[in-house]
Structures are given as C-alpha cells and as structure tokens.
C-alpha cells in the first residue's frame, strides 16, 4: 500500500471517529473539523466514503454511521434518522466554535448526593468540557419549553452551591434558536457565568 492510500484511509477513519463521537454531522461541519478545504473537495471525500455512511438530505447533507461504518470504528451505538437531528447539529456548532476541545464529552449525567446518600440531584448536561481548570457545561435549547430550562438552571445553581464543579466557577454555554430566547436565558442565569449563542451566529 502506498503512502497516498494510507493517508486517505487515515482521514476516512478520523472522520468516522468524529461521527462516532458526535453522532450526526453536516457536510460543512465535517469540512471544518477535518480541514477539508473547498466544498467540492469535501463532497468528493465524503462520496468516496459512501459505503460507511448514511445520509439525511435535509437542506445540507447530514451524515451518520451505518452498520459497516460502526464496525470499522467499533461503535455499539446505533443511530437512527430522528426528528431531533437539529439538536445534534446545534451542539456540534458549539464543539467547532470552541475549537474541538479534547476533553469534550457528550451527554454527561451529573449526580450530586450527600455522604449519607440522601439529597440526590441528577442532571444530564448535553456536553461537558474543561477550559483550564473550569468546567464548561453545554446546553442545547432547541424545542424545550422555557419552564424546563428554568428547572434545569435551578438544578445547576444548587450543584454550583454544593461545589460540584470544584473551586473554579463553571461556565454555562447555551445555544438557542431565537434572539428573544437568548435574552430570556441570560435573564434566567443571573449570577452565573453564561454565554448564549443563537444558531444564526454560526450560519
């Protein structure tokens, strides 16, 4: 096998691995994560990988792993074409915006309980990563109601008071759909470190 083929396989595998990690990716997101330069080149590369990928044609092409692809990167999680693909896509926007942090982990459950096991609080963050010593908590607000967001923020507030995130104040990073919701979220987070983006920031 010559050098060129090896490089090509390496790139294909790294794309599959990021799909394993991030579930769904649009073409432009793959392009940005893997530095595929022009649109045309990206389309060519992905076309060659056809046999490992499933595609949703929804405006832009959205890719996810099929059975053969999962086998290649040893992935047990089966993804299906769902209605809330947009949720994943929005989260990926943030992943790219924060320069693909190595500590990024999707869907982390944070459990805090007292030593005796009582007063348990459970909370699932859409993603968690570290910025220096500080935790960053990523939340996607796509189709949720504001009421649910409020409850979640209240939980985070308690977690913070319990020092669950260590000595450094945690950063909360939200992505939402409209300018109005952005304002509302900032209002809800009074006293916490927060950054809110809208989808429009990334398009």
């Amino acid at each position: 096998m010559n050098q060129k083929q090896l490089e090509k396989m390496n790139r294909q595998e790294s794309i599959l691995r990021s799909l394993k990690m991030l579930d769904f990716l649009t073409r432009s997101q793959i392009q940005r994560i893997h530095d595929l330069k022009s649109d045309r080149n990206a389309q060519r590369v992905l076309k060659q990988m056809e046999e490992y990928l499933n595609v949703i044609k929804d405006g832009e092409y959205i890719y996810y792993l099929n059975a053969k692809g999962r086998e290649l990167v040893d992935c047990n999680k089966v993804r299906k074409r769902t209605g809330n693909v947009q949720h994943y896509i929005m989260r990926n926007h943030l992943y790219i915006a924060f320069r693909c942090p190595k500590t990024w982990l999707n869907e982390r459950r944070i459990i805090s309980k007292s030593v005796s096991g009582k007063e348990e609080i459970k909370c699932v963050a859409d993603a968690v990563f570290m910025k220096g010593d500080a935790h960053c908590i990523v939340e996607v607000d796509n189709t949720q109601t504001m009421k649910r967001n409020e409850k979640k923020i209240e939980k985070y507030r308690i977690l913070r008071q319990r020092n669950s995130f260590g000595m450094m104040a945690p950063h909360f990073i939200w992505i939402t759909t409209t300018e109005h919701r952005r304002k509302e979220l900032i209002e809800l987070h009074k006293g916490l470190n927060i950054q809110v983006f809208t989808v429009a920031d990334f398009i």
Binding site: D23, K77, V78, R79, K80, T82, N84, L105, E107, R108, R109, I110, I111, S112, K113, S114, V115, E119, V124, V128, G132, D133, A134, L159, R160, Q161, R162, N163, S164, F165, G166, M167, M168, A169, K190, G191, L192, N193
Partner: protein, 438 residues
C-alpha cells in the same frame, strides 16, 4: 376677523422665534476672530482669516483652520490661549428648555417661574486645543470633562487583560496597564473618589482575569469598603488592622522569596519569561495609617511594602498604594522610587501635591467634584474617573463568590486540623456517561 388675528399671531411668533435664534446662536467663528482682533493678534491691516470649518460628529468638536497673518507665530496665539478659552465659555447662551414647562407650579410665583425658564443661561464648558501645521488649527470641544461618569459595561469592554480604566478627559478614554506600570500611587482628600477608584480596579480585574488574579487587600479603614469582595475566590487575604496587615505582608514576603529562588533555579529573568499568567495584586488603602502603628510594627510594615515595590514587579506582584494624607514620611521611599504612575485626586496643599506628583496642581482641582483627578504617567492629564455603583459590582463579582462564608483564616485552620478534603464539602459529585441512544 379670525383670519386677521391668526395671521398676525403667526407673524408675531415667527418674528419672536427669529429674534430668539438670532441672539441665541453664537457664531463661534466670529467670536474667535473678534477675540483675536481685540487681543491685538493682527499685523497692519492683515487680520486672522478663516480658511475652513469642519464639524466632527464622533467626538463632538468643531475644527477651525485659520490663516495666520505674516509676522505672527503660533507662540503669540498660545500666549492668548486662556483668553480664547474664556471667551468661548462666555456665559452667553440662553437656552429655553421646553421640558421645564412641565414642572410649573400654578401659584402666585408663576410669572417668576416662567421668567426663570426664559432667562435660563446654560453653563458652557468648552475645551480648546490649538495646533500649528502651517495653518492654525483650533479644536473646540462642546463639552469639557464631564462632572460625573458612570461605570458600565461599555467601559468594561474597553479594557482587557491587566488594564484598568482611569477615566475620561474631554476627548479620550485613559487606562492604566499594570503590565507596563506595576505600581500605582493613589492620593486624594477624603470623599474625592479614592475608594471608588480602588473598587473600579478590583472589579475590572476580577472581571477580566478571573482565573489569573489573586488579591491581597489591606484596608486600614476597618475593612468596610472591601467587605463585599471578602468572599471572592480571588481574594487571598483581607487585612483590617495592624496585626492582620503584618501577617499578610509577611506571607507575601515569604512568597516573594520562594518565587525568587524558584526563578533563579529555573533561570527565568522575570514572570514574563517564566510564562506565568498569575499576577498578585496588593492594594493598600489608607497607607498613612501605617505610620500610626507602634514603632516596631511600623518599621517592619514599611520595610515589607518597600520590598514588594522594589523586587515584586518582576515576580508578578502589583502594588496600589493609596492614602489621604500624602507626606514624605508616609510613602516608603522604595515605593516612591519605583512608581511610574500616580493618580491624584484633590489635595489640600501644594506640598502634598508635590509629594505625589513632584509638582503643584492637585490642590487646584475643582471643589465638590469627586472623581476629578490628575493621572500622571508618561504625560499628565486631568481625568474624570468613573463612578461605580455597588449593585453593578455585585452583578460582576457574583459568579466568583465561593460559597463558603467562613473567613479565610478559619478555612486554613480547619484544613490543618482535619486534614480531610474539605474542598468539596459533604457532597459527592459523580460525572458519568448518560449513554442516551436516540
């Protein structure tokens, strides 16, 4: 009949308005030319001549370009600077503010109230700048220095890293960079904005460098003004009296020596070369109180402050020394020798001004305007430093307050005795994979 009354009343209105605008609109160009004429700035029959007049909307000033008559130089005009400035500020602008009619009270003083409104003359505070580049350029700023500026988010956006806002002159925003000038002297009479300025500094630094900042606050007024920062995670110690002050300073000196040795071992010249992001800011409020300690403590404290000033800068220490009563005996000579920047609010006497700025001036600042001061670094400027509201401080520092409300010395004692990991409290936190499939 009706028609006649209507038309004549309209005519009357127009005539009145015309007269109002005619007497009210001051033609600055004419004013300047007139002043120049009267001061004697002309040669034979050649007078100062206007060449161009431009209005700058962004900075609210008008620039006049004049052709200077042969035989006169820029210096002649500079000599007359104050004449021009006073002439432009001649209290002559009559301003009728319609808003004020709303507040009228209908009683027998009504006619007097209306007269007051009509006769109201606005105070002019124009600022003048002169420059010569073949033509004489005069810039007339609409407003001099504002009497009060409020600290808000827009100011916060204009400083980054280790910069703090000093204040506004009539045209620009002045900031102080602790990376370039590590020691800052602050002096001024009581109630003239010293403590507010210190709060500005602390809040700005906490906001801009929350993770790299550590603070030691020495407040010899009893710790009241810094009380709100007590629980911020950046604040390492808050000293309120002589004993605590010495304790803090001793700890700082130990740290100084430790760093010195560490740097020497690694061959670093200063903190920049070591590539440390952390900076330790030491703030001494009411430094004059140190002279009130008993003699042993006083000498020790002054020596330690001097040490921090002398060798601290390269090791990442920043010092703000602040006093109401600047006398040569109050400033440790090491602090004085190492400062390159000073902010001086109003002072009582020229002697005090001499101690801080090495020249007179601070005693001539206007009475009753807190926050007005002289900032001296590479050049000297009169600034208005912004007023920070306590509720604004709270919104900025709230994310950085640690939940433990015990004082810091207590925490240290506890960790010594129990030795257990107290940092997480009695709660255990687990991060696990939620493993949600779709």
């Amino acid at each position: 009949m009706l028609f006649e009354i209507l038309t004549s009343s309209i005519m009357l209105c127009l005539a009145g308005a015309g007269h109002y605008y005619k007497t009210n609109s001051i033609n600055e160009t004419k004013k300047i030319l007139l002043i120049a004429d009267r001061v004697g700035l002309y040669k034979d029959d050649e007078k100062l001549r206007i060449y161009r007049r431009t209005r700058n909307k962004e900075f609210n000033y008008t620039e006049y370009v004049f052709k200077v008559p042969y035989g006169l130089g820029f210096e002649d005009f500079q000599k007359a600077y104050s004449v021009f400035k006073d002439g432009l500020n001649n209290k002559s602008k009559r301003q009728i503010e319609l808003q004020r009619f709303k507040g009228l009270k209908f009683d027998k003083t009504l006619s007097k109230q209306i007269k007051d409104i009509l006769d109201y003359r606005m105070d002019l505070k124009k600022e003048l700048e002169m420059e010569y580049d073949g033509m004489l350029r005069m810039r007339v700023f609409d407003h001099g220095i504002a009497d009060r500026v409020d600290y808000d988010k827009s100011i916060l956006k204009r400083v980054k890293n280790w910069e703090v806002p000093i204040g506004f002159t009539h045209k620009e925003f002045i900031k102080h960079d602790f990376e370039k000038m590590p020691i800052l002297l602050v002096a001024g009479m009581t109630r003239y904005g010293k403590t507010v300025f210190l709060k500005n500094v602390v809040t700005t630094l906490i906001h801009n460098e929350p993770d790299n900042l550590s603070l030691s606050l020495v407040d010899l007024k009893g710790g009241l003004s810094f009380a709100r920062y007590r629980n911020c995670k950046q604040v390492k110690s808050l000293a309120k009296n002589a004993n605590e002050t010495l304790e803090t300073l001793e700890a700082l000196e130990k740290e100084l020596i430790r760093r010195q040795e560490l740097f020497l071992r690694n061959g670093w010249e200063d903190i920049k070369e070591a590539n440390w992001k952390e900076r330790h800011v030491v703030i001494v409020d009411e430094g004059a109180e140190i002279t009130g300690f008993d003699s042993v403590q006083r000498d020790r404290a002054q020596y330690l402050v001097g040490e921090i000033a002398r060798i601290g800068a390269g090791l990442g220490f920043r010092l703000i020394f602040c006093t109401q009563y600047p006398l040569a005996s109050v400033f440790p000579s090491q602090v004085k020798a190492n400062t390159s920047a000073a902010l001086c609010f109003k002072l009582k006497t020229a002697t005090q001004s001499g101690v801080v700025l090495d020249k007179n001036g601070a005693e001539d600042l206007p009475v009753g305007i807190p926050g007005r001061g002289i900032y001296q670094s590479d050049q000297e400027r009169i600034v208005q430093s912004p007023y920070i509201d306590n509720s604004f401080i709270d919104t900025i520092i709230k994310p950085h307050i640690t939940i433990n409300f015990k004082s810091r010395s207590e925490i240290i004692d506890e960790s010594k005795t129990t030795g257990e990991d107290e940092s997480t409290g009695k709660y255990i936190t687990i991060f696990e994979d939620a493993g949600l499939s779709n």
